[in-house]
């Protein structure tokens, strides 16, 4: 039994007068993949934004037993929670290598070699502006950059969004490889089938609430989930 690395309790996220997340609670265990699935607008991305400290939120967010709610984003990154944001948000006007250096944050440059071993295409493109990469390559860059920040918990916001099916498969192959290596992940996805196949534990969100929870295989077998989210 793994200890929970991340504990979220009664999290509420409000944008002005509109509340997008209405008190959600969930856990992410060390060494596991936890998935948040649900339709567009369910509050999944807002939940991740709150964990990363990008938006103010009510409720408790404990990481490794320590309360991190209200901390600024950079200290959350330093604590070990690193997000690969939706839309990848690579720095288009920097080179591929400079993007990777942003992940390293001044640590030994030699560590970049590990990113190039995992994604040889990035080594080939290292001197190009990141904005010139294809969508799939940008996603590889965003993941490589986040890994160089030595995450203890990797947050992934819709990593398959806007990518061609073949590229989506490669992204999920990469995530499966990271899972084998023991990287703890919290994955937000609309592609519920792939997310549930990868996940040890999953939560279904709808309209800002968690409406169902279980292990990945349990939710894959669930008829309601199949009907609503898997197109079954």
């Amino acid at each position: 039994m793994n200890a929970p690395l991340l504990e979220v309790e009664e999290l509420r996220v409000r944008y002005g007068a509109v509340e997008a997340v209405h008190g959600v609670s969930f856990l992410a265990n060390a060494g596991e993949v936890t998935a948040l699935i649900g339709a567009n607008g369910a509050g999944k991305s807002s939940t991740l934004a709150a964990i990363s400290g990008l938006v103010p939120a009510d409720g408790r967010i404990r990481f490794d037993g320590r309360e991190i709610g209200g901390a600024p984003p950079h200290s959350i990154v330093r604590a070990g929670i690193v997000q690969v944001p939706e839309g990848r948000e690579i720095l288009a006007r920097m080179t591929v290598e400079e993007n990777l250096l942003m992940g390293l944050r001044g640590r030994d440059r030699a560590e970049i070699a590990s990113a190039y071993e995992r994604f040889p295409i990035l080594r080939e493109r290292r001197a190009l502006l990141a904005g010139s990469l294809s969508g799939g390559e940008q996603q590889m860059l965003a993941i490589a950059r986040a890994l160089l920040a030595q995450p203890r918990l990797l947050l992934l916001d819709e990593p398959s969004l806007g990518l061609a099916p073949m590229i989506v498969k490669r992204v999920f192959d990469t995530l499966a490889e990271l899972k084998r290596q023991g990287v703890t992940m919290l994955l937000v996805e609309q592609n519920a089938l792939r997310a549930l196949r990868l996940a040890d534990r999953a939560y279904v969100m709808d309209l800002g609430r968690i409406v169902m929870r279980g292990t990945g295989p349990e939710l894959l077998r669930d008829e309601g989930v199949a009907r609503t989210y898997l197109g079954g």
């Binding site: 990363s52 950079h74 250096l101």
Partner: protein, 295 residues
């Protein structure tokens, strides 16, 4: 002719030091810092203070001007910009706020020093003349040009090759991505203001040395020039600002050389006309990003 070209490079160097700081703040925060001319003026007076009170040599006084005006830049941000930033105020508010700040500081300086020209202590500035062929060149200006170039190379190094520089560029391009990559935004903004204002302050001190005449309003004529230079170079592009600054410097001196004496008053018109022409041909500026890249 050689003397005129020499002066053009000197004037361009001052414009460049002034404009890179202005462009740096714009590139990171999308605001026009209308208090930048105040920092320029303060640099000249800080140097004066250290030279007349502590007898510091001019070179060390310039270093002191960099440090003091750099710190002043951080103070300026805390007072004029940070409160607006926290409330998500539009860039126009920041412009007005910095303008108000500038007026207050200029008036305070006028109370202390009067509105008239002030000189550096007698004998505190090196006075050498270089005789090269027929040309007589002011040696002090050569030192100033050299120092300006060293500072711009240093700035380029910091921005391109250090983690602080990458942090600043990341913040300029995509604040959300920068936060998620662990950039301490407050620290990066403070560093941006320190560098921007430090360079502006040194520029003021150097100009003060060259003319040996400083006054509280001395920064004002540079404001519009720096703005123009930045637009022509490409909004927020540092190499663009430097390039634009030297073009303006050379354009002004060229107008002086080639226009008949009775039309000398037109020198600004000619220089600005040249810059306007650049914009007509190339709306995004000489080294600007296409709008699509900034999105």
């Amino acid at each position: 002719m050689a003397e005129q070209l020499y002066n053009a490079i000197f004037v361009g160097s001052i414009y460049a030091l002034f404009a890179v700081g202005f462009a740096l703040v714009f590139s990171v925060l999308d605001i026009l810092n209308l208090a930048h001319p105040v920092v320029f003026m303060l640099g000249a007076f800080v140097a004066l203070f250290f030279m007349s009170t502590f007898g510091l040599p001019a070179a060390l006084a310039a270093v002191a001007a960099f440090a003091v005006t750099g710190m002043f830049g951080i103070f300026l941000d805390r007072v004029a910009f940070a409160p607006l930033r926290r409330r998500g105020a539009p860039p126009l508010s920041a412009m007005i706020s910095s303008l108000g700040f500038a007026i207050v500081v200029i008036r305070l300086m006028e109370l202390r020093y009067g509105p008239d020209l002030v000189s550096y202590p007698a004998g505190s500035l090196p006075q050498t003349v270089l005789q090269i062929g027929d040309a007589r060149l002011d040696g002090l200006r050569l030192l100033i040009i050299g120092l300006a170039i060293v500072l711009m190379v240093g700035l380029t190094y910091v921005v391109r090759a250090t983690q602080l520089g990458r942090d600043i560029r990341a913040l300029a391009e995509n604040p959300r991505a920068a936060r998620l990559l662990g950039v301490d935004v407050d620290r990066a903004i403070a560093a941006t203001f320190f560098i921007s204002s430090g360079l502006g302050g040194v520029a003021g001190a150097l100009l003060g040395f060259a003319y040996n005449a400083i006054y509280p309003q001395m920064g004002t004529p540079y404001e519009l020039k720096a703005f123009t230079v930045m637009v022509v170079g490409g909004m927020g592009s540092l190499p663009g600002a430097v390039l634009g600054a030297y073009i303006l410097g050379i354009g002004e001196i060229a107008a002086l050389v080639f226009l008949p004496a009775e039309l000398a008053e037109l020198r600004d018109a000619l220089a600005f006309g040249l810059l306007f022409l650049v914009l007509v041909i190339r709306p995004r500026g000489l080294l600007g990003h296409r709008v699509a890249d900034r999105a």
